[in-house]
Symmetry: C2
Subunit: 273 residues, 2 copies
């Protein structure tokens, strides 16, 4: 049971407030209730938010924690003056010292995620998602030259979620390609990939974990058997070693950690800015 | 050209530091160079980071801006003592006041994204991604009952990126289903969807924008012609109105804004916590 509520108040989506607030809250042994209040972009909505926050505080008998990323000063003022929660003003805290250091005024523009839909960056991101979908699981060899990164590994080693993450969050065209028994017999990388060695990154996984994951999909299959998983992983790792491909084990890693490590290793030109 | 560098220093992936730092920087009219320094989890790596930051400052003749989300106090101390940049300690700033209010000590655990790979939440997220891929573009009617949300709309109205975002970032099983000329002729929702009206959400888009997007894929096609786009959009909107489906226009919205609005409207049970 939760015993305290945390609010994330934003004039935009509230994603920044919640991402950051969650990281802070992860430092504490507690399970508060989360309420995101997005699009609080008028004084009226601010008053409504204040009522909701104060009512919650009264019911729970504990000060709600309120993370805000409000940039509209009028809206922020309503919250500052009316809210009886513990207010953590994430923008105000850092924007003012930065104004001093940079010698420029902030422009109080609302929302990183608004008005972006026609920007080049945004179009590139959508294109990257489409590319990654079209090049999921070796579906297509077309335009691999256009890929920013090509992931390889045995089936269920984490290639698909990682590719989609790289496309969605970093705007990278991430293809992925399975390593399958025929490749192991030939003892060579799939021929379509050979010209692109510098942007290939391998994912591996412990055979035990792989067997577990595969068994959820196809219980009692040869595909999911520990013997077969051991063989595939060992062949795939040997192949990556021979081909001089960088790789990592996904066994205990989150998508975010895998993606971050890949970016550090591959350093796609697109992201050097 | 950039004239100042911003560093994001973290003992984890640095994603939180960069997400939040970017939101702050978006308040300023400037294009700094971004350098993410992830996995700074030892005193040695901290010293290396300090050298890199200070060297950059000397070369540029301007204090680098340094966002940190370090929780390891030893590492943070090295940065605090050695770094000549402008240090914005995002955790320290908020964690200490929270400790007071909550009456509990923070445990300085590194990284929201580490050690998660075997958690239930993480497994659910991977499962949601697989579900959304399998139910992209009406590929499958199987287990629509298991979907948390079903997006409908004409081809290229933004369904696929939004579904993948909802799966990846919110762990929601998001199916999507195209509305096509046969549906317009029958003047009814695709029959497979009828039982699930309460979790359907519609996406629409301005015909001009739709024609632009489609023309990138299939230039000079009937599919991309403005007449056809006008007809499809108007039929789709009429159908959603008749069926009593909630919908929004994606024309000027980012994936994040679309997803946030859908969550507010649909309020999937899974996310009430």
């Amino acid at each position: 049971m939760h015993s305290r509520t945390v609010f994330f108040v934003s004039d935009g989506t509230g994603i920044t407030a919640e991402t950051f607030g969650n990281a802070i809250l992860a430092q504490f042994e507690m399970k508060p209730r989360h309420v995101r209040l997005p699009f609080i972009d008028t004084v009226d909505k601010a008053h409504q938010a204040v009522r909701q926050i104060n009512h919650t505080g009264e019911v729970e008998g504990k000060k709600p924690v309120v993370f805000t990323t409000l940039v509209n000063m009028e809206v922020l003022k309503v919250i500052q003056e009316g809210c009886k929660g513990m207010l953590l003003d994430m923008f105000g805290t850092f924007v003012h010292p930065l104004e001093e250091e940079l010698g420029i005024k902030s422009h109080h523009r609302v929302g990183r995620f608004s008005d972006v839909s026609r920007s080049k960056e945004y179009t590139d991101r959508i294109e990257a998602i489409n590319f990654s979908l079209a090049h999921d699981d070796g579906q297509s060899n077309r335009d691999l030259a256009g890929a920013d990164v090509i992931l390889v590994g045995v089936s269920r080693s984490g290639k698909t979620p990682t590719s989609l993450y790289l496309a969605m969050q970093c705007g990278l065209k991430a293809a992925n390609y399975p390593l399958i028994p025929e490749d192991f017999e030939r003892r060579q990388l799939p021929p379509a990939l050979v010209p692109f060695r510098s942007k290939i990154f391998g994912l591996t996984i412990s055979p035990d974990r792989l067997a577990e994951i595969r068994a959820e999909r196809r219980p009692n299959s040869r595909y999911a058997s520990i013997e077969n998983c051991r063989m595939e992983v060992s062949e795939a790792e040997a192949m990556m070693r021979r081909a001089g491909i960088r790789w990592l084990s996904t066994t205990t890693k989150s998508i975010e950690e895998i993606a971050t490590t890949i970016l550090q290793e591959i350093r796609p030109e697109k992201l050097v800015y």
